[in-house]
């Protein structure tokens, strides 16, 4: 193995060689630079490989032929090798990236770059305190030099502010170093750690050294200078500053915290969490992309510092966690800064230019996912372990703060992503093939690291999950025509179903059928799309992959990973809608919030167990169990859009594309239901402060069912109406589940199936109408029955089924509902559900009436029936609904028997096609028989009496002695239930919306107010710095005394 010293020697040597070249020979100078950086990267990588393969051992490198602590020594271990690889590779890529500017400024700039990379490597390698100082100074000076690469004149001021701050830091550091030396008689870090303190001021000295290192990490709020640099520096350099410098400085801080001993770790924890929270909060009101990236960098580094603070508790996991976050951050941040160099404008929406280049969009999404810690990237695993460690060691406030801040961070990043995807680009991309290549390399590195972290994880590798791989396959396949991809996607879903359905219990099987086969049926509608339809299939398949994995998840980790996957996939899907930007954002925020609640719940439940089986939830006891229940339920209820957590749903479902709405409504919501199923199945009744939590769920379900229905009745937008209806329907299902009896669960299953079918059907029908009429506002339609008869039929069947009118399948749901509530003691919530039923009838009637009945509008006289591919699945659903209504037993009987094994009872007796309960009978075939016979007889009667009726002209009516001549005056549709609104309108008060808006406004207000802290004055920044030092000093004194 080559000596790691060569990394330093190569960097320095090449820098000196550059001085020997002619001043004008930029090109060879650039090659020398590249060659040196490549050599440095090679050495670092070869160490990584060697250490991983076990071909070599970590090595201590002595200099000057003397043993430490008498001479400076370096240490090369796994962490060092990995981080130096990150640093040098970032340097190499950034050098390529900045080629034009480096050439412009000449060999001196290249030398500075080389020295910077060398110094960063040195900072990582060295084990000597003063040597650390020297490298830090080198980094400071080189940074101040490279800031000048920017053509932005403001960079000058930023560089100077940086120098001011660095001066103060180095003063503190030097004083700390010398007193540490005085105390320990040594400058060697390992030696210091091993030597007991010799005098009383030693802790003060340690404090100064640590605080100086912490200040290098740009802690909030003493970091205005760093933000200015991020904003104004050359993006290629900012990539280095964030990825490489941040990484190296973190490692240095970690070294010193290790040496200082566990007593100092709370300092890191405290500063880390404050920084993580503060930076992300302030980032909320940023509109400048690079400054936002700066805030994000600061926040991420704070996060790692937090992890450093947990070092003692994390033990062996420390490297995995900290490494995961550091490396994720380095790759993602470098990638984002490189991307920012290709975007001309500096506002967040200027990133819309990226949309011209799908590969870059994927890269952008990758980086954001890496930063937010989504699977399958390293930070995801890291976050998992970290949260579990918080929970296991009882640091619950920390856990909460961490998750909230992570959520804010996700909000910042996804808000940005949404803007970039949905806005129109004002200016095109500054495109360089080399720059794109560099960005894509970073993206691939991200995926590769995801694989590595997965392989290292003891929880299983997300990247090797077959469904995910299949979904990712659609990224390169995106160049294929949409229909080919569609067929492949359908085939994939069906095949996955076929190969995996045998292992599932009937409950999971039903969900599997809904998700996989139902998904395949829904894909039929996607055949409607011509062309390529870029960016549709990969997210859709990721969502389905998530669901497939969710059903087969047996450990908490598998479950959570699958959950996150389906969340991300659906987010991208929803984001595709035309006006969906704000709704997709609120969707992802609520979903991630819910996911974090899940994470916290699982972590609490695991209590430090490495692998936590879902089924072990049932063994939880004591005061912990109800809290676990609350957290998990909160997570799942977010997905089922229970009242209060629902505000994301209407917009998200309504704005989604025609074939996406049924996916996210009919299928995605079932994931939440499945989660709740698992939860109540494993945990059952839990009491918190004497309240049975399932009772709360019953109430919540009932409330959602009722208010969802009322709100739906007031909508003018057809898809929003259906969206609110979903809230209501899922409320029923939650209600059923929470009844905690056999029939309640059967009810929930029945609703799961029914809701999937009729909601998919209705969304497709309404979507088909929208395709033709180009509006979703119902009062702008009318009389479409003759123009779109098939759509009408599916809506008709849909609403009969949904409102529970016999003979269609909705009635079965109602029948089971009544039987279920007969055997429970809870009575009051029923009132709400009773109310919800007829109100459901209201909105459904409105849907069919205002769209299909009444007077056709002049501008819509020529519309055709919805496209074939959109109609086809609807007709399949119609057929299914009729069959299911007549023969419910074909699905329900198995489920019923399975639920019976769980409860040990069998309240329903299936005799032939008749269902009997303790209370009543349901004979679907007889119902059908009677109704059909009566209906046909009466119809025959009417035809006999009135067989030659002919359709008259549209305006062949008279009302109030007027003959209408235009439909607008006669189509009674807008504010259809006006009296109802007068009486029940108070339910429309947007309580939860105002609550969440209030929260958002408060956060934004805080951000807007607090960021005024950064006055831009270098002196003020220095004052902040000292203020920070003093504050930390006083706090830590107060804490230790």
């Amino acid at each position: 193995m080559v000596s790691p010293l060569l990394i330093l020697a190569a960097g320095l040597g090449a820098a000196f060689i550059l001085g020997l070249l002619r001043g004008t020979s930029e090109r060879p100078a650039f090659y020398v630079t590249i060659a040196a950086l490549a050599a440095m990267s090679f050495v670092a990588l070869s160490w990584v490989v060697g250490l991983v393969l076990g071909q070599t051992q970590p090595v201590e490198i002595l200099t000057a032929g003397a043993r430490p602590p008498f001479a400076i020594n370096l240490f090369m271990g796994g962490a060092e090798a990995a981080l130096i690889s990150v640093v040098t590779l970032t340097g190499l890529l950034s050098a390529f990236y900045m080629r034009a500017d480096l050439m412009r400024l000449g060999r001196r700039a290249m030398a500075v770059l080389l020295v910077l990379i060398m110094a960063l490597s040195g900072l990582i390698l060295t084990r000597d305190l003063f040597n650390l100082f020297v490298f830090i100074e080198l980094i400071v000076i080189a940074t101040a030099g490279l800031v000048l690469l920017s053509k932005d004149t403001r960079a000058l001021a930023a560089g100077f502010k940086y120098l001011i701050v660095s001066q103060v830091i180095s003063i503190l550091l030097l004083v700390g170093v010398i007193f540490t030396y005085h105390a320990h008689g040594s400058l060697n870090i390992d030696d210091i750690a091993a030597t007991p303190m010799a005098f009383t001021g030693a802790s003060l000295a340690t404090f100064l050294v640590l605080i100086a290192l912490v200040l290098e990490l740009k802690p909030f709020p003493a970091n205005g200078w760093a933000l200015d640099i991020y904003e104004s520096a050359h993006p290629g350099f900012s990539a280095l500053f964030s990825a490489a410098s941040g990484t190296a400085a973190l490692f240095a801080a970690d070294k010193l915290f290790t040496a200082a001993g566990p007593a100092w770790l709370p300092l890191a924890t405290g500063v880390g969490i404050v920084t993580f929270v503060g930076a992300n909060l302030l980032a909320l009101s940023q509109s400048h992309d690079r400054r936002l990236l700066g805030y994000s960098s600061v926040g991420q580094i704070g996060l790692v510092l937090l992890v450093v603070g947990q070092k003692a508790l994390l033990g062996a996991d420390f490297a995995y966690v900290a490494g995961g976050i550091v490396i994720s951050h380095a790759v993602a941040k470098a990638g984002l800064f490189w991307l920012s160099g290709m975007v001309k404008g500096r506002t967040l929406s200027d990133w819309a230019a990226l949309c011209q280049n799908p590969a870059l969009v994927v890269a952008f999404a990758t980086f954001i996912a890496m930063l937010t810690g989504l699977p399958p990237f390293p930070a995801f695993y890291a976050k998992w372990v970290l949260v579990h460690e918080f929970a296991a060691t009882g640091q619950l406030p920390m856990l909460a703060i961490f998750l909230i801040a992570a959520l804010i961070e996700a909000g910042v990043l996804f808000r940005w992503f949404g803007k970039a995807i949905k806005h129109d680009a004002q200016r095109s991309l500054t495109y360089h093939l080399s720059r794109e290549t560099i960005v894509l390399i970073a993206m691939l590195a991200g995926w590769g690291l995801g694989w590595v972290w997965g392989a290292l994880s003891d929880q299983g590798n997300v990247m090797t999950a077959l469904p995910l791989l299949f979904a990712l396959l659609f990224l390169p396949m995106d160049i294929l025509p949409a229909r080919v991809k569609n067929a492949i996607a359908m085939a994939g879903l069906v095949v996955w179903f076929v190969i995996s359905y045998q292992d599932l219990d009937p409950l999971r099987l039903v969900f599997m059928i809904i998700m996989m086969l139902g998904g395949a049926v829904l894909f039929l509608a996607s055949f409607h799309h011509q062309g390529r339809r870029m960016g549709f299939y990969a997210p859709a398949m990721i969502m389905y992959a998530g669901m497939a994995l969710l059903l087969e998840a047996f450990t908490a980790f598998q479950f959570f990973a699958a959950w996150e996957m389906l969340t991300i996939g659906s987010y991208f899907l929803i984001l595709r809608g035309k006006e969906s930007e704000p709704h997709a954002l609120s969707y992802i925020l609520f979903s991630l919030g819910g996911a974090f609640a899940l994470l916290a719940g699982f972590a609490l439940a695991a209590q430090g167990q490495r692998i936590f089986w879902i089924e072990d939830l049932s063994e939880l006891t004591g005061t912990l169990a109800p809290w676990v229940f609350v957290l998990l339920a909160l997570g799942f209820l977010t997905k089922t859009a229970a009242m209060g957590l629902h505000i994301w749903l209407p917009g998200a479902h309504a704005e989604a594309e025609t074939d996406v709405s049924p996916m996210v409504s009919g299928i995605l919501l079932k994931a939440g239901l499945f989660g709740l199923f698992v939860l109540v199945m494993e945990m059952g009744h839990q009491r918190l402060y004497g309240v049975d939590l399932t009772h709360l769920l019953v109430w919540l379900g009932a409330l959602s069912a009722f208010i969802g229905a009322v709100l739906a009745a007031f909508q003018e937008d057809a898809k929003r109406l259906l969206a609110y209806s979903s809230i209501s329907q899922m409320g029923y299902a939650v209600f059923g589940l929470a009844l905690m009896n056999h029939l309640g669960w059967l009810l929930a299953m029945m609703f799961a199936i029914n809701h999937f079918v009729y909601k998919s059907m209705l969304f497709l029908a309404v979507g088909g109408v929208k395709e033709r009429t180009h509006t979703r506002l119902m009062y702008q339609m009318g009389g479409l029955i003759t123009l779109m008869p098939l759509s009408f039929v599916s809506v008709l069947v849909g609403i009969i089924a949904m409102s529970g009118v016999p003979p269609l399948s909705g009635f079965g749901g109602r029948w089971i509902f009544y039987n279920a509530i007969m055997s429970t003691d809870l009575r009051l919530p029923m009132v709400l559900v009773f109310m919800a039923g007829p109100v459901g009838f209201l909105y459904l009637f409105r849907l069919i009436h205002t769209i299909f009945l009444g007077q056709p509008k002049d501008n819509l006289r020529q519309v055709k029936e919805a496209p074939f591919w959109i109609i086809l699945p609807q007709m399949l659903f119609v057929a299914f609904l009729i069959a299911f209504a007549a023969l419910p037993g074909m699905i329900l009987q198995r489920v019923d028997r399975y639920i019976g094994t769980l409860f040990g009872d069998q309240p329903l007796v299936w005799s032939g096609r008749i269902v009997n309960s303790a209370y009543g009978t349901w004979n679907p075939v007889a119902i059908w028989g009677v109704i059909i016979v009566v209906f046909v007889t009466v119809l025959g009667l009417l035809i006999w009496m009135n067989h030659n009726a002919q359709r008259v002209k549209q305006f062949n009516i008279v009302f109030s002695a007027e003959r209408p001549f235009k439909p607008q005056t006669t189509h009674f549709a807008w504010n259809f239930f006006a009296p109802y609104r007068k009486a029940m309108g108070f339910l429309e008060t947007p309580v939860s919306t105002s609550f969440w808006t209030g929260v958002t406004n408060a956060l934004h207000g805080t951000a807007e107010f607090s960021r005024k802290l950064y006055t831009g004055n270098g002196q003020t920044y220095a004052v902040h710095l000292l203020l920070f030092v003093i504050a930390v000093y006083l706090i830590s004194m107060g804490a230790s005394s």
């Binding site: 000076i141 104004s232 831009g1016 270098g1018 002196q1019 220095a1022 000292l1026």
Partner: protein, 120 residues
């Protein structure tokens, strides 16, 4: 009070004075001057920490034979560190001065509060 303590007190005072100057003077050049005073103070502190009362410089010539070195010379390590620190200090000062010049060229002003376009 002993020699090293006098020196150390002086060093700390210089640091504080320098920092005070750097934080209150708006003129960029004066800020840099203040920083040099502060770094001088740091150097004084460093050397004073390494000073052992009554010992001589760590040079092993005729006055201090090799055999007696351990009992005769003062601690050489802080001195080595200060040497490095001084040179680094010069580097940083030169850099700051160059920056000051460029800033002046850019804005025609040396007032630090004029360079606040980047904020928030």
């Amino acid at each position: 009070m002993m020699l090293s303590q006098i020196a150390m007190a002086l060093g700390f005072s210089l640091i504080l004075l320098g920092l005070y100057g750097a934080l209150t003077n708006r003129d960029i050049i004066r800020m840099i001057v203040s920083f040099t005073i502060a770094s001088t103070g740091v150097n004084v502190v460093l050397v004073s920490v390494g000073y052992l009362p009554g010992r001589s410089a760590p040079i092993l010539d005729e006055a201090v034979p090799v055999a007696e070195a351990a009992t005769r010379i003062t601690d050489p390590v802080p001195q080595a560190l200060v040497l490095t620190a001084i040179v680094i200090g010069l580097g940083v000062t030169a850099l700051m001065l160059a920056y000051a010049y460029r800033l002046f060229r850019a804005r025609g002003s040396l007032d630090i509060s004029d360079f606040t376009e980047l904020k928030w």
